[in-house]
Amino acid sequence: MNFRKTLMAAAAATLIAGAVQAEDLKIGFVYVSPIGDAGWTYQHDLARKALEAKYGSKIKTTFVESVAEGADAERVIRKLAQDGNQLIFTTSFGYMNPTVKVAKQFPKTHFEHATGYKRAKNVSTYLARFYEGRYLTGIVAGKATKSNKIGYVAAFPIPEVVRGINAFTIGARSVNPNVEVNVVWTSSWYDPGKEREAAETLMSQGADVLAQHTDSTAVVQAAEDKGKFAVGYHSDMSKYGPKAHLTASTHIWTPYYMSVVDAQMNGKWQSSNTWGGLKEGMVALSDFGPAVTEETKALVQKAIDEIKAGKLHPFQGPLKNQAGEKVVAAGKTMSDDELLKMGYYVEGIIGELPKKN
């Protein structure tokens, strides 16, 4: 059963109250959007379902979806803690401060916050190296494009998104140096209509492969309608464009969530900061579409192997920024700190990065 926001607090409480026995591990999940059938929250919920399948009656999971970031979140997180959830996953950046605040009031409850940077004795943070997946999808897009123009529909110019665009571009140019990537910002994480128009705009200007960092599936659908190609994000979006969908960079939370639950059950849970990628199984590509050639698949597999072996890093030198200035020297690799703060475009991207002012 799903409950809408207005009902959820009361409903979640009654749900939990009856059915659980004392020895079960109760785990709470807070989601920022509806689960749907693709997207950020959907991937977290896949992991939650995997936990239920693995541990069966030993755990009891509760989730609350469509929780707005801010005051609403604090109320929901506190409610979950009060209801005896010993482990609580808060899965959106905006839950950072509410999570830390509630964690102070419940020192025995363990919190896992996705994408944040504030930790405490009972608050861990975790994130995936999405840029590794972006790099791989860049390879696929770079091989698929005929016009050498790739369109990228993005939400907001924050480091996380810019990093993805850069990694994608570097990947595309690693197999096709003539590729140019054109970015259109929608200033919204979720607006199917606007994402669709952004996609149409890019295609009308010559792009024949599209990538996206927004939450709806409208971009893939637009590419399908126009007979072009698209790369999905978060989840496999091939349903919306059977022919257009080349692949998607997806997040796999299951292995991490299982390790956290194991640690919790063995009494070995510790506050930590996890940033895992392909190697840790937190990032993966979805199945390739019919348009992807064997040659491309082999190139991607090679890159996967090299990234896993530590031989290849998407942000390894020599790297130039948009203006042609060297940002990473040959033989060097960008540090995690630099990655997290990334605020410029690399070579091969058209247009200016919107400034913060």
Binding site: K5, Y190, D191, G193, R196, Q205, T217, Q221, G351
Partner: protein, 309 residues
């Protein structure tokens, strides 16, 4: 200089982006002209979007989907009608509640339709006519609902200013006491106006889920209902201005995207605010002449009426 094809693409996209607003805003215009302020447009659009989508999934017919969308919008607006007209509840609060209710109900009903692919409404293609350079795609290159939105506009404009019914509707919106004294059923007329507004909002929502982005996704209107509401004021309750305003709003959004894609050095944040800035600017320009606004704004807008008063 942008190429001709780009300009045509912008023009087509502008009309597409404006069409859901045209439907919803014309519906709300009629509702407001009768003196009722229904802030539930966003909710009614979502209900229409999900009902239309469900209709197409179940029957496979776009026509059935469109009828379902209008009926659903109409039914949901009836709740508003009963509450505000018969039970005399506050129109602003009830309208807001209707939006929240619509968002929740559409999400609930739509759960099983998420991710269901459908074949959406395609642009018409008349051999010979659509192929004419420039004019062909501009006149004959839209989907049927775009033409329907123009028909609705013509019908609304004709009805309001050229028919006896329109005169009565406006009279009810200007002074319900006077209309009542003349023997017109104020409540009955307002019910009809509210229902028309609901049906048109439903149709606007269905344009999103059946033609614009043929899929159902929770909250897919993304605030367009509120824009439609603003458009009615922006247009000073004049049908032609509603249509132009909707296209202006859509056009500026699309222009922003094209400017970005052309590598024009302009902040995406600024571009995102442009449609709203333009709206405010036009509002300022229009409201310089306060008499003209008062001439068009229904004098009894938002005021409750009971025949016994």
């Amino acid at each position: 200089m942008p190429e001709l094809e780009t300009i045509i693409a912008i023009a087509l996209a502008t009309v597409r982006a404006g069409t859901p607003l045209v439907f919803a805003a014309l519906g709300e215009l009629i509702t407001e002209k009768s003196g009722v302020l229904n802030l539930g447009v966003e909710g009614m659009m979502l209900i229409g979007a999900v009902a239309g989508f469900a209709g197409v999934v179940v029957t496979g017919s776009i026509a059935v989907g469109l009828i379902a969308a209008m009926l659903a919008g109409l039914l949901i607006s009836l709740i508003f009608g009963v509450l505000t007209l018969t039970l005399q509840s506050n129109q602003v609060a009830t309208g807001l509640a209707l939006t929240i209710f619509g968002i929740g109900l559409s999400a609930f009903v739509g759960l099983s339709y998420i991710g269901t692919p459908i074949k959406g409404l395609q642009p018409i293609d008349i051999p010979g006519l659509t192929d004419i350079p420039v004019i062909g795609p501009l006149i004959f290159g839209h989907d049927l609902l775009v033409y329907a939105s123009l028909l609705v506009f013509a019908a609304v404009a004709w009805f309001l200013y050229k028919t006896r019914g329109g005169l009565i509707l406006r009279a009810v919106g200007e002074s319900h006491e006077a209309a009542h004294a003349l023997g017109y059923s104020v409540i009955g007329i307002r019910y009809l106006a509210v229902m028309f507004g609901g049906a048109m909002s439903g149709l606007g929502g269905a344009y999103l889920s059946l033609a614009y982005t043929p899929q159902w996704a929770e909250n897919m209107t993304a605030g367009r209902g509120w824009i439609a509401l603003a458009l009615v004021v922006f247009a000073t309750w004049r049908p032609a201005r509603v249509v132009l305003g909707a296209w202006l709003f859509g056009g500026i959004t699309i222009m922003g995207l094209h400017l970005q894609a052309s590598g024009f050095e302009i902040s995406s944040h600024l571009i995102a605010t442009l449609p709203y800035l333009a709206t405010i600017l036009v509002l300022v320009l229009i409201s310089r002449d306060a008499t003209k606004i008062r001439l068009n704004a229904p004098a009894s807008l938002g005021k409750p009426f009971h025949p016994s008063d």
